[in-house]
Every structure is written in structure tokens, then in C-alpha cells.
């Protein structure tokens, strides 16, 4: 393993976060705080409890998941797309570093950033609503698995994208709608039966449900299925990344 290279890429990516602190950390924290203010404090106080949990507290795992998914995808996709855009990818491709090491470094940095952000949002949420974490180890496991899985997804998008529009396309048109419709702000048991069935095709449901279970011990689907689905997504994205590097898709001519 080329540990020096992995460290260099990882630290390079983390340094970019420090340089763009306002955009990388503060901006998502503020926007998430606004959700708490509106849905937690203002509207939430007039909404009934859901499965014995105040509405403000109920949406915390979903909001963290919303940030985690969008930030993981954005960080990782931008991280690998930017060298392609500027042309500095030549250095990466000519270095004595394996594709696995490249992917692990970029994905590791993107996942670290989104996890830090997720934990900051969790701490911020504690200022607005009463919080409890029933299964902290599971909470961290879901946090790490989701961050890594969607950073891999972002990495794939970054390699696939050949312009900035495509880079934004997936987070805006797929991730955000799926997260909003995946039970971030409601329990899917509140939906009519037909929509409950349709919602089960939304992969984000399993992520949000599992994550929420780790907080409040309540879930829309069984935690085992949530974990299985999360690991399945991870395996699928790993397989795609493996194929990309083997074929050189959009990296090597």
C-alpha cells in the first residue's frame, strides 16, 4: 500500500474543506438549523407526537441523513471531478498509486467531512430539541456506513460527470427528492397503504429508518433489513468503482 500517497490525497482534500469552511460546514449547519427552527420549534409544537416522539426530535435523524447523503455525494464527486476539470488528474494517473488507494483516499476524506458535519448537526439539534440516542454504537455504524456508501456514489458521479451541471444533477434531482420522500420528515406508516408499498422502493427509506431506530428504538422497517440494504448499496457502489478503475472509464483513453 502507498500510505504516503493515501495520506497526501486525504490531507489535500481535508485542507480544501478548511479553505472553504463557510461553504463546507457552516452553510449546511445553518440550513439544517433553519429546519429545526421551522419544523421543530415553530410548526413542530403544533404537530402530534409520532410514535411517542415529539415531532422536532423525530425529524433529527432524517435531517442528519439528508445532510449526510447530500454532503457525501457532493464532497466526493467534487473531489474527483475538480482534478479532471483542471487537468491535474494527470498527476494522480501517473503516480505509483493503485485505484483502490485513490478511491479509498477520496472516499475516506469525503466520508470524514460528512460525518463531522453530521455530528455537528446532531450537536446543533440538541440545542433545539430534547435528544436521546438509544443505540450509540449502531448510530455511529449507520453514520459511517451511509457516509462511506454515498461518498462512493459521489465518487462515481464525479468520474461520470463531464461538466458542472451533471455534477449537480444527481444530488439535486435524485438524492434530495428521495430523502424528502424517504421518511425524513414523517413515518411511512402515516402514508396510505399503496404509497407505503411504493415508498419501499426508495432506498433512502432503509437508511433513515435504521438511523432513526438507533436514536429512538422505532423503525419503519426492521433494522436488519435496513442494515442489509445499506451494506448492499455499499457493495453495489464498490463493484461500480471497481469496474470504473478496471476499464479506465472516463479516466484513461
Amino acid at each position: 500500500m502507498n500510505w504516503h500517497a493515501m495520506r497526501a490525497i486525504y490531507l489535500f482534500e481535508m485542507a480544501r474543506t478548511r479553505r472553504t469552511l463557510l461553504q463546507s460546514v457552516i452553510s449546511p449547519v445553518i440550513s439544517t438549523s433553519l429546519y429545526f427552527v421551522v419544523f421543530g420549534a415553530a410548526i413542530g409544537s403544533r404537530i402530534d407526537e409520532i410514535e411517542g416522539i415529539s415531532y422536532g426530535a423525530f425529524i433529527v435523524p432524517g435531517l442528519i441523513m439528508l445532510s449526510l447523503l447530500t454532503q457525501s455525494v457532493s464532497n466526493a464527486s467534487f473531489g474527483i471531478y475538480f482534478p479532471k476539470f483542471t487537468g491535474t488528474i494527470y498527476e494522480l494517473l501517473s503516480a505509483p498509486v493503485s485505484y483502490l488507494e485513490i478511491a479509498a483516499s477520496y472516499v475516506g476524506a469525503a466520508a470524514t467531512k460528512s460525518m463531522i458535519l453530521g455530528l455537528i448537526i446532531l450537536a446543533t439539534a440538541g440545542l433545539f430539541v430534547p435528544l436521546q440516542v438509544a443505540h450509540p454504537v449502531w448510530m455511529l455504524l449507520f453514520l459511517v456506513l451511509t457516509a462511506v456508501t454515498f461518498s462512493l456514489f459521489g465518487f462515481i458521479i464525479g468520474i461520470w460527470a463531464d461538466n458542472f451541471e451533471k455534477l449537480q444533477l444527481v444530488p439535486l434531482l435524485i438524492i434530495t427528492p428521495l430523502t424528502f420522500l424517504g421518511g425524513s420528515f414523517y413515518s411511512i406508516n402515516m402514508l396510505p397503504p399503496i404509497w407505503q408499498t411504493i415508498t419501499l422502493f426508495n432506498p433512502v427509506v432503509y437508511l433513515v429508518s435504521g438511523f432513526r431506530w438507533s436514536f429512538y428504538d422505532v423503525a419503519d422497517v426492521s433494522v436488519g433489513i435496513s442494515l442489509f440494504m445499506t451494506v448492499l448499496f455499499l457493495a453495489v457502489f464498490l463493484a461500480v468503482v471497481g469496474w470504473i478503475f478496471k476499464s479506465g472509464y472516463r479516466l484513461k483513453t
Binding site: A15, T86, G87, T88, E91, L93, S94, P96, G248
Partner: protein, 308 residues
Amino acid sequence: MQTIISVSGLSKTYDSRFQALKRIDLDIRRGEIFALLGPNGAGKTTLISIICGIVKASEGSVRVAGHDIVADYRAARAMIGLVPQELTTDAFESVWATVSFSRGLFGRPANPAHIERVLRDLSLWDKRDSKIITLSGGMKRRLLIAKALSHEPEILFLDEPTAGVDVNLRRDMWQLVRSLQATGVTIILTTHYIDEAEEMADRIGVISKGEIILVDDKVELMRKLGKKQMTLQLQTALDRIPPALAAYQLELASDGNELIYTFDAQGERSGIVALLRDLNDAAIAFKDLHTTQSSLEDIFVSLVKDAK
């Protein structure tokens, strides 16, 4: 001299079916400066890109110090530094950070003393904390060289290193290349500037339409293919060349005011003495004469023209 890069039967056909390289065989010797000359689209950058791992070969193999660039890519790439043609840099990084990053990327532990030495050698030390976006074009070019040298490579590829730089910087770079060679670094440069190859290279390869059409020592190349010409400025213009001088295959130029004699530079006898005697016998007087030798550019143009 020991071979450090061995290219064997290397071909590259892009998805567009454009064949950029056609069964290239080439050996680069350890410690030499090798200039790869060729017109635009000849395949110079493709060849370099394959050796460095940026482009995949369609056929053939490349070994760097005995390491196959595919099977043993780590060992092969660790020996190579690449300075690309384009000024591709991370605009918002500092000079120090980007050069240190390159060293780490190539698997070397941090060595601030080496980075400092490289930056000082390239007159970038004062700019070490500056963001790359604030550097001039010449500084960015030097920065790319610093990045390529950060991991102490044994082989340095310079793809059009002086494209778009001013005369002074060009001369500084030539000096730098020579000093690198003195430390044992093998240098392969592609260039459009024939004078650059003529000034620096030990050996020259000419590539045209994806084929290496010639590889030779620079001095040998110029000796073999270089022509010398003697131009005589006549006192009285001639209408035609007298039959008595036909054997010399002279040319008349400048409306008959100049006689041009082309002779083999490597020939033991140039025939100049005999020509001057025959001119005297033919009562052709001249007021001045000078000789010129074909430059590498003339040789290059002629080779590429012949290859078409």
C-alpha cells in the same frame, strides 16, 4: 550505455480509430538527454502519456529500468517525473503545499529540506506561501517542474517545456536540464523548437504520423544528414553555368549574382579547392564567399517531408 526505458512494439489506436502510434520501438539510455521531435499530432504526447501511465497502450510493452509499466507500475512510476505541456495546477493551493502533495503522492515521506532545495533551484522559494493563482505563467511552468522533481525521480519527462515562455526563462530551463543531467537524471523532452534539441540533446528521435522515423546521436545525425553549402558572390552576373563546371552541380541564385555549391560535410574532400581552380580557369571572378551548414531544423523538415 545502459538502457533505462525500453519501448517495444508499442501501438495506440484511440476509440475514434485514430492510430496515434504504430509499433514503436525505442530505447532510452540512462543519463542521456533525449529529444523527441515531431510535428503536431505526430504522437509525441501519446508516447509519453503511455510510458507515464496516463494513456493505455493498445499493443506492445514498455519497461522502465526493467519494470513493466503495467504489471509493475508502482516501481516504474516511482522513478518518473512528468512535466505536462499544459499549465495544469490547483489554483488555490500554495506552492509549498502542492509540491509537498506531489512528493507524498509518489510514495515518498515528507522531506522539507528537499522541497526547499527544489524551490530554491527553481527560484520559487520566495513564492512558497503564495497561492498558485497569483503566479505568472513562467512561475507556473517552474512549479510544474518542481512538482515533478519533488520525489527525486531518476527519469524526467518534459513535454514541450518551453512552450510559450520568454527567451530568458528558456535559457534558465536549459541550464536546469543540464544540471539535472549532471546529477544522473535521464531527461526525455519533446519540443517543437529545433534549436532546443540542438542545444541540449545527446540523442534525437524524430516521430511522424505515429512512427519513429529516425533515432541517432545529435552530432552523428548532423554529420550524416547535414549539408554544407558554399555561396560565392560573383563580380559579374552569369546567365548560365558554364559546361566546364557541370560536374560540381552548382546552382545560380540572386539573378545570376551568386553561385551555390553544395557538398558533403562528412566527405574527406570537399572539392572546394578544385572548384576555385576551375572557376579561375573559366575566368569567373568572385568578390566574397561564405559557407553554411544545415541546421537540425533543415534536417528535421527534410526527414518529415520524406516521411509523408
